[in-house]
Amino acid sequence: MKLSAIRPIALVLSRELMITVLLLLGVSFVVFIILFASPGDPFSVLLEGQLSTAEAKTGVREAMGVPRSWYIQYLTWLAGMLSGNFGTSIRMGLPVLPEVLRVGFSTLILTIGSLMITLLIAVPIALYSAVRGTNKLSWPLTMSSYVISALPVFWFGYIVIYFFTHELGLFPIAFGFSTAGQKYRWLYQLLPIFVLGVGNGTISEVIRFLRQEMGRVMAEDYIRSARAKGASIWKHAFKEGLLIPVTEIIASKIPFILGGAVIVEQVFNWPGMGRMAWQAAQDRDYPVIMGIAILAAVFVRLGSLFQSVVYVAVNPRASKE
């Protein structure tokens, strides 16, 4: 990468960052509108039993800044959010941001890990069938990838837990971090990553997309002229045939994997963002669910930012536009 290529990348990066900021603004607006338009009063759930008198209720609502017109509320909420104050969780009474970040980090590990596993499975299969074409071995491979991606992930999780606790007797029956000092703690970390990596339902799609891209690139003219030149095809085909499709898949599959994470965290009661979101949905705990939705959107946008950076770095034409 010569120095002269840095400037166009910075240009495109700034454009992508601006788009990302705009999109996150849109996300916050959508989140706010959904909660603002909700029929029930957000606090009726919490305040049912405890504060019967009307003034007390208005007092609490005042603190939450509910009565003013909606767009002022939105702006104050947005301003608060930008300054790091995501409001306080109704159930836990703790400020939302530190909680969500702590939990968000462990979900990030889960997501990245499972993404790696999906790619570890999908890329070899796609490479094999792109090179060998359809023969007797590639049929069972594709069929098993279909079956795996149709697997309901929560059932698969239970089976895996059962297998590890009963057959191998590795873990105690009760799960969660509380089992400190356990001998196989690191293995315990890997389990949900493995389950989500295999069971997030995208493997067959990833394989089909990668094989399709590789097949297309193999038929390109410049690959034929590389062969005519006696140069190695893989060196020429790597960028467009493998690097760009893989980054594209990563960026487009992150939302699906985050969705799957909610379920896997529930199965393994892994203290992640998904589990907290589930809890918040149960208790209609608004600030928490809003914080999580925004953080999830940030993850997704980071993924697509990463993809466009790689695309521009590799493809000189894009940086000139």
Partner: protein, 336 residues
Amino acid sequence: MTKTILEVIDLKKHFTHRKGLFSFFKEQQQSIPAVDGASFYLKENETLGLVGESGCGKTTIGRTILRLEKPTSGKIIFDGKDITSIPTDQLRQLRSQMQMIFQDLDAALNPKMHVRDILSEAITVHHRISDAEVDKRISDLLEQVKLKKSKLSSFPHELSGGEKRRVSVARVLSVGAKFIVADEPTSALDVSIQAQVVNLLRQLQNQIGLSYLFISHDLRVVELISHKVAVMYLGKIVEIGLSDRIASKARHPYTHILWSSLLEKQSKETEQKAKSVRAGRWGVFDFERPTAGCRFAPRCPVYESRGKPTICTDAASEPRLKDLGGAHQVACHFPL
């Protein structure tokens, strides 16, 4: 006296290229002058050839005349009516008289429809007629374009190049077109099929009295088929005249170079003689930003040999089409 079917006055078409998501904020619109003031006329039952290198805007002129692209300025008068900015529903009525043959063989043929449906849809688009009449009309069309009846029930991808071109010509005739813009109709075809299509177009012209705007970069075919030829360079018409006058006694340096580069005219011995005219920085053909004044100046051997006269390159004295008599116009300060 034959009536002029089409007249184009100072037609301009600039494409605005918008930069990404924020262009309408920053108004950073870079406009590329694809067609920069072209004016010519076309008589009935006549063919006007339009030649020039790729990227000189000849296809854009054809599409703008048919209002497939919105003209930036200038006037288009078709059959006496000014159609530059008439609303689309009135335009749709006129469409039946002016039609286009596209360069891509598959352009007009929907791959999911049989040839019979393609033709019947074209026939019934402007006026409802009974099925019996449609069949009769289809068989007439097949006669005109000399296509076997058995081809009616096949799909476009089963046809050969020549047959595809014949179906697109039949489709154009079925609407009752009088004026046809033919955009490189022969360039995607083989030599022997090309000859058949050229003959077909000329027979139709004699039988039905069609008039063509024949766009091509194949000079030999244009010379054969057209009565008058217009030569374009970077969006401007630099010379118009009768086709044999243009070929033999070209008055614009660019036209002369175009025709002299026709290979078979140059047998090996006469190669040296032609070398002199093509001196100058001719080797490189690059779309440098068009300088003011005559756009051909940076590559014009006459401009070099006359010691780069300033008249050629200052904006005020940009060469306009001057009539040299005998319906021959040229836009150059020093015609050959």
